[in-house]
Subunit: 138 residues, 12 copies
Amino acid sequence: MNGPNLDRLGTREREIYGAESLGDVESRLRELAGDLGVDLVFFQSNSEGDLVDAIWDAADGCDGIVINPAAYTHYSIAVRDALSGAGLPTVEVHISNVHDREEFRSRSVVAPACTGGIWGLGTAGYDLALRALVQMLA
Amino acid sequence: MNGPNLDRLGTREREIYGAESLGDVESRLRELAGDLGVDLVFFQSNSEGDLVDAIWDAADGCDGIVINPAAYTHYSIAVRDALSGAGLPTVEVHISNVHDREEFRSRSVVAPACTGGIWGLGTAGYDLALRALVQMLA
Amino acid sequence: MNGPNLDRLGTREREIYGAESLGDVESRLRELAGDLGVDLVFFQSNSEGDLVDAIWDAADGCDGIVINPAAYTHYSIAVRDALSGAGLPTVEVHISNVHDREEFRSRSVVAPACTGGIWGLGTAGYDLALRALVQMLA
Amino acid sequence: MNGPNLDRLGTREREIYGAESLGDVESRLRELAGDLGVDLVFFQSNSEGDLVDAIWDAADGCDGIVINPAAYTHYSIAVRDALSGAGLPTVEVHISNVHDREEFRSRSVVAPACTGGIWGLGTAGYDLALRALVQMLA
Amino acid sequence: MNGPNLDRLGTREREIYGAESLGDVESRLRELAGDLGVDLVFFQSNSEGDLVDAIWDAADGCDGIVINPAAYTHYSIAVRDALSGAGLPTVEVHISNVHDREEFRSRSVVAPACTGGIWGLGTAGYDLALRALVQMLA
Amino acid sequence: MNGPNLDRLGTREREIYGAESLGDVESRLRELAGDLGVDLVFFQSNSEGDLVDAIWDAADGCDGIVINPAAYTHYSIAVRDALSGAGLPTVEVHISNVHDREEFRSRSVVAPACTGGIWGLGTAGYDLALRALVQMLA
Amino acid sequence: MNGPNLDRLGTREREIYGAESLGDVESRLRELAGDLGVDLVFFQSNSEGDLVDAIWDAADGCDGIVINPAAYTHYSIAVRDALSGAGLPTVEVHISNVHDREEFRSRSVVAPACTGGIWGLGTAGYDLALRALVQMLA
Amino acid sequence: MNGPNLDRLGTREREIYGAESLGDVESRLRELAGDLGVDLVFFQSNSEGDLVDAIWDAADGCDGIVINPAAYTHYSIAVRDALSGAGLPTVEVHISNVHDREEFRSRSVVAPACTGGIWGLGTAGYDLALRALVQMLA
Amino acid sequence: MNGPNLDRLGTREREIYGAESLGDVESRLRELAGDLGVDLVFFQSNSEGDLVDAIWDAADGCDGIVINPAAYTHYSIAVRDALSGAGLPTVEVHISNVHDREEFRSRSVVAPACTGGIWGLGTAGYDLALRALVQMLA
Amino acid sequence: MNGPNLDRLGTREREIYGAESLGDVESRLRELAGDLGVDLVFFQSNSEGDLVDAIWDAADGCDGIVINPAAYTHYSIAVRDALSGAGLPTVEVHISNVHDREEFRSRSVVAPACTGGIWGLGTAGYDLALRALVQMLA
Amino acid sequence: MNGPNLDRLGTREREIYGAESLGDVESRLRELAGDLGVDLVFFQSNSEGDLVDAIWDAADGCDGIVINPAAYTHYSIAVRDALSGAGLPTVEVHISNVHDREEFRSRSVVAPACTGGIWGLGTAGYDLALRALVQMLA
Amino acid sequence: MNGPNLDRLGTREREIYGAESLGDVESRLRELAGDLGVDLVFFQSNSEGDLVDAIWDAADGCDGIVINPAAYTHYSIAVRDALSGAGLPTVEVHISNVHDREEFRSRSVVAPACTGGIWGLGTAGYDLALRALVQMLA
């Protein structure tokens, strides 16, 4: 599950987020999901409401969530409450080192509602998160 | 008018929000509205923008608003500005005791744009709010 | 139970608190209590210590508390501790919109020790609070 | 009107408050009141509630208030609300330089409800305050 | 590009925002755009996600952005990140004097991602912004 | 000397304050005082003003003070000023671990005016305080 | 000694500062000085540096200072250090109630270097200050 | 009207402020003033007091003010009070994006006393401000 | 267990900490331990890591801890975590009145992991702590 | 590299950190290192200085660091500076969800000097970190 | 270059600043300058604007600056901007230990625009600064 | 006396700290000490406890201290207390401009316990400090 502006990953600000597109990430994750024997629902939206909807859909049909809430990380109590309510094992992923940028990026209002998180390891963070989730659910 | 995650009321985190669903609440309020001789438009959305739209629709067609902005209570200046602009008598409702949970839940950016509010009295707060609104408009 | 300066309700600063006196409120509430089939003990004091005493008296002889701690709302940990210790269902009432006045009025140190609260609905808030309490205890 | 601990003026901590007793101050002020042709009601209490009562009594029978709320200056919203409600011309007096002591003493929650104030001029501040009040009411 | 509640410009709270409607502003700007020999895409939405989408659309098809993020100015890191990512010359416009209203309105989380801004000059701010943008791009 | 709500010690919230009543504590302390060869004046009030009065009475007739200001610990500058003015050796006692509860309980405005303090050791803290005081005065 | 913008006293913002000009105040104070048998040097400047110079001049030739530092009250550590260094009895005067206006006006960086102060009593504050100073120096 | 260090515009730190000198700006503005049919008084000083003087001179002889208070923007309450007192339509100009530099530059104590402002648009901000002022006064 | 700089107790800054050396304290405590029939391990180190080690050693071989973490009191989360992990009854001792010195000394990050504490009673605090611990473990 | 108190992993507070010992973790990581074809130096210390030494040793002999600074995460600028100076790819690991515990645990002063981090995924976080590091260095 | 109140050095508050006059310091520095073979321009003003002017003059004719901005250290962004713009090697000097006085004296807004600084070493700090500057420029 | 990470001076992050090694600095200082006719004890440790020990050793055998506490500058109250207890003339040295880096580096908890300090003048700061100390002790 990916938050706002991630649909443009790899096209701009490559010095921060790298050159890979979100499509590339999705392909690689689908492959990894296959290897791990699990199904993957991939989702991106710039809309906070749509992310909340998607989290509840996941609560109905999935066993865990890998989420990069992007900008919403820092203020969306709506996303936090949805994750809390859904009650699934959840891994929060950030591509860049959010602790070495603007002060406000080091604060996540979403984190207390997640199981754990991975930051600063590039898009490889998604792979690690998926791997962690599958192991956790095994 | 109900904010994010309230569509799942009664299905999860029942220890905080109780076992009643939003549908149950709606039914009871419709009945009460009937008793009080007023019409009721019921609305829920997880999207901040949709709530803003709905407030302006109410400004055009309603005499007052009962709103539970849920998570948006704590940061949606957009909702606040819409309520302020609409200028209707408005009652803010919270089901749980927002003052006895995380620190950030005790702050409402929406409250200054409301007439009054009710918190911590469960879903009965909606009934009281409707009753107060009707009396206020009488 | 009413805190400091409420004995002068209706005589001054009517633009904020309305023209009704505390005696008027008491009469109306006694009538409502009668309708609801419950007994009502009415109390007002400007003294923090007397309010603490009264809360403990209520703990001994009443089933619930409706309290408007007025100015003490914002700093009286003594009142908070008394309410906490008493352990009765309690509804905190404020006549005016405390969230649309001075910053310090939007903070209640008493709220975490209450069941719920009602603000900004004028003296009608007392009626709603009594009604809520009776329903809660039913 | 004098707040907590001022009844012991002149007996202890003389390096801060001087050697004059509150009785000495009262005598001198009575004399000055006589000279100015006004009546003076003198009052001291360690109890916040009693001060609130006394302010309302003044609202009923006096034309102005000279008040040294002492410790209550820094947190008694009850005293502030009483002064605000009473609506009389009021002068806040402090004997010592409250801005050159502990940080918390430089903040007065009462000041916004007063007309003006005098600090750091010793007990002469009471005389000046009375003089100012009489001139204001002339 | 206009944020939440601006679709109701001129219909309410005219003492703050004036009597002109957003349609009036659009007409005048289209005329000015014609005079300056540039094309103008006009957009308004109450939804944060739609604004993010629109910024990225602009990144693909426009040379610069004039944006009034309204309430989102104060918390939408999503809008900020979109503007940052889009990388276009951008002018932030506010109709009212945001520095002479509530404290929170004087803080813009969006400003660091803009080239410059104009506030408090009424709807004329849009004209000036367009003019500045065209000159900048010349 | 005991502050607000301590008269109900042992009857409620026993998981925090234990099952002993204030009467039990008094008896035990009187016995200890006898053993140590000192006289003991025991006092409790819910009123801030009465505590201030009692401190000044102690200043006149006692050699030291053991005080548990309870809720007033956190905001009563009046109590602090009284202790400061009285100038007696004073030990501040708290029954529970005030540093492991709500944030505001870890701050004492009274402590700078005391000689020392004891917290979290249950009602045994009173015994230790008396013992310390007697040793100090020996 | 008068700080910035006081040369225009009485010509603008009369609802805050009254209709008297600084010349009127000077005349009245000169008369009072005559009555009290003291000499008066009157000074006004909009420049912080000139005020510092004037304070040192006073240190050389005067026995006390009455100062209204106006805007500099809130940030001029230079004025504070000059007053501190000069070491004369000093009374800080404010015409308006600085505690009932913008938050920043309730903080004085100059006050700790003064003997005392008078605020909110209009231009009569200057008279009282002069009177207090003369009495102090007697 | 230009504040401290702007006399050296264009000679240093060109990467922030550009290569144009203040003389260049003045020439261009005089030309624009001519086109708009208005008179222009141009002023620069490094002294806060001189700026205050100049604002009051403008109050006597001008119809509006364009001001870049430079460093004084962030702390000169003296300049703010002068602008407030003068009561002229005023536009605050900043050449650079003050919201994308040191934190303290994003706060203006002067802005609440201005009509509006323009930042980050280079020296073109002066032209836009003059244009806005003339239109406002038309 | 004693933290940094306590090995020099009694040799310097005697006006704060008294003239007794840590050896004197140890002797007296050993004697008291004997009287109380318990064994005492005495430890002092200037190294945070050594204190952590010592706490874990105590967890293995002791029934309770009396600790004066000195400077580490105010920032050593490592010591706090060790005490928390060890899970023994623990009494935190401070010789001086930490609430009447620099602001930072009034905050203890260690206290929430202790059972209780004693401050400001000189080295007698150690005796009281040992006595309390023994009674607690009886 | 492991910080203070981690040598006791699995023996206490298992509800937070799990039942695995640090030895168990080391064995598993050595096995994984073997699988990945890399050498592993394992280190734990309760001493901040020893951790700093170990980081510099790693700078001399290793290609990357996996570090769980435990308590030092929240205040050790010394560890941060060492990591910064060493300049190796570094992954910060936390076993528990540091964002859902005490407020202070959500702040890491070390993170800006790391490449990335993993939190809340139990001891599996070490495996993921090692895996990420090896992939990064490939 | 010396800021406000330093012209009175040695005449008052000698317990903080010593008995040497600024003239004494100037003589000694001129002698040292001669020994080091450099020219020295000595300057003092109580006016912020004059200091800004003097810094720019130095930018035109000197190779480095030794500056004691005195009170302006703590708020003069104008001085900071001038130093920044001038771009000369600059040493900030404070005679007293600014970190062991009022809290606000420990913050310098000027320091980020200087090369380095010296505090608390008395007037010898000027000599060291000159020496450092000459060595830096060699 | 040198704090953590300074043993690696000159080997890394040369753009901040320069290319000189700590050995180079020691040699130069030994030479200077010889010229000044004083003995020099040189010390470096990454361990806070060792620094505390070394300060007390200095208290026993030295006449003054030159200390660069590096990272410990910002939080080691243990080092501060040791310096305070030792009571020797002490000069705090920082090689880089600590006021122009991360915010936290501009705060020194150690400074109030030092006589004075030197920052930003490179390793020459050590020479100046030694020189200042010798002059002070002459």
